[in-house]
């Protein structure tokens, strides 16, 4: 081959030799079921992506869950998780429902967070084969009190993201109130520790298998 061509290929190789350092991924909190590194670990495996969510058709649950899916997808940039809302609850991996009253759909209050709602995520049972039976169930409950509709809306948005974090496998609560996975979330979005935690979780071997399809 011509020396010109060899020289050209060599120059391209030199131009491409920049190899940036990988960032450190530190600051994760415990995500196992005991919250101390000794419990079960769960995440959706690659062959179960996209995870299928069914949502309560009442109110704006569809919007809340889609927002929560988008928010968590943005934390995982290497294809670890994608989610999709499906219309058939029988074929869903996770179900999101209202528990009790359905709040009106209004713009969220931008003011200080009010603890106007709560949430719960559960699974039916785990078999001897370490496999979850049935779909995961998340519910959001509007608490009674003198809250404005906007405060309730801001709360259910936070809690939907928080419960989504549990369905993705963060089985413990963060000890830090600046994280969305704090027991009573007061921040609107996942923080750096939430991001690192979900990343580390999805690169850690799971001990619990997802429900069979």
């Amino acid at each position: 081959m011509s020396r010109y061509a060899l020289l050209g290929f060599a120059l391209l190789g030199l131009l491409a030799c920049t190899t940036p350092d990988a960032p450190t991924h530190t600051g994760a909190y415990a995500f196992d079921s005991n919250g101390n590194g000794t419990g079960n670990v769960f995440h959706w495996p690659g062959d179960r992506i996209p995870v299928r969510f069914w949502v309560d058709p009442r109110g704006n649950m569809n919007e809340l869950v889609q927002n929560a899916i988008d928010v968590w997808q943005d934390q995982l940039i290497y294809g670890e998780f994608t989610g999709v809302i499906v219309s058939d609850s029988a074929h869903a991996d996770v179900q999101f429902v209202w528990s009790g009253t359905v709040p009106p759909t209004v713009p969220p209050d931008p003011g200080p967070p009010a603890l106007a709602c709560g949430g719960l995520t559960q699974n039916d049972s785990i078999g001897a084969d370490n496999r979850i039976y049935g779909a995961l169930h998340s519910s959001i409950l509007v608490l009674s009190g003198s809250f404005t509709p906007g405060q309730v809306e801001a709360c259910v948005r936070r809690v939907a993201i928080h419960e989504m974090g549990h369905t993705l496998g963060i089985l413990a609560e963060s000890p830090d109130s600046t994280d969305i996975m704090f027991a009573t979330p007061v921040v609107p979005l996942p923080g750096p520790a939430d991001r690192t935690t979900i990343q580390v979780l999805y690169h850690t071997a799971a001990t619990i298998l997802p429900p069979a399809r």
Binding site: M1, Y4, A16, T24, D74, G79, Y202
Partner: protein
């Protein structure tokens, strides 16, 4: 016109618990080049190049995980010349655009574009010359980073080399 296969170097190397790479799978590559004769043996040339494949994460343990489907389109201009009676070469500069099928993950802010430099060598075996056919090897280089990677903590872009091998065909009369 060129049709072949393209291999790309790693777009991202990261370590979350274990190290892994992100790179496009082996991809079909197609390009169309237009030439304008200058003083012999030089030609000005302009090319449009497209390749498409799955972008995937390659764990060092051997597993792979698809991330999204990725198409790249490059436009370049440059000079070509005959190096030997059976060989010609081209050097071009241009830009490459990444076109992910979804604005997700690594590409959550959409597909970026980067400056690109390309070199191509066409080898013309005697038996193929009469048909206007040649074997082509081309390589290009560009820097790669996305907004999501910056958010992740990457501060420098990474040099990416792509090499394609295939067959080119030049229409017109041939000896």
């Amino acid at each position: 016109m060129f049709a072949g296969v393209r291999r790309s170097s790693v777009l991202v190397h990261d370590q979350i618990v274990n190290p892994f790479d992100v790179r496009p799978a082996l991809a079909p590559a197609f390009s169309v080049t237009a030439g304008l004769p200058l003083d012999n043996p030089w030609h000005a040339s302009a090319a449009i190049d497209v390749s498409t494949s799955e972008l995937r994460r390659e764990d060092f343990g051997g597993g792979t995980q698809p991330i999204t489907h990725l198409t790249t389109a490059a436009v370049s201009v440059g000079l070509s010349r005959t190096l030997k009676s059976w060989m010609s070469g081209s050097l071009r500069i241009g830009a490459i655009k990444y076109l992910p099928s979804q604005d997700l993950g690594l590409f959550q802010a959409g597909g970026p574009f980067f400056p690109l430099a390309q070199i191509a060598v066409d080898v013309i075996p005697p038996f193929a010359a009469r048909y206007g056919l040649a074997l082509e090897v081309n390589a290009d280089v560009h820097k790669f980073i996305t907004d999501a990677l910056r958010t992740e903590g990457f501060t420098e872009s990474r040099g990416v080399v792509r090499i394609a091998v295939g067959v080119s065909w030049t229409p017109g009369s041939h000896p």
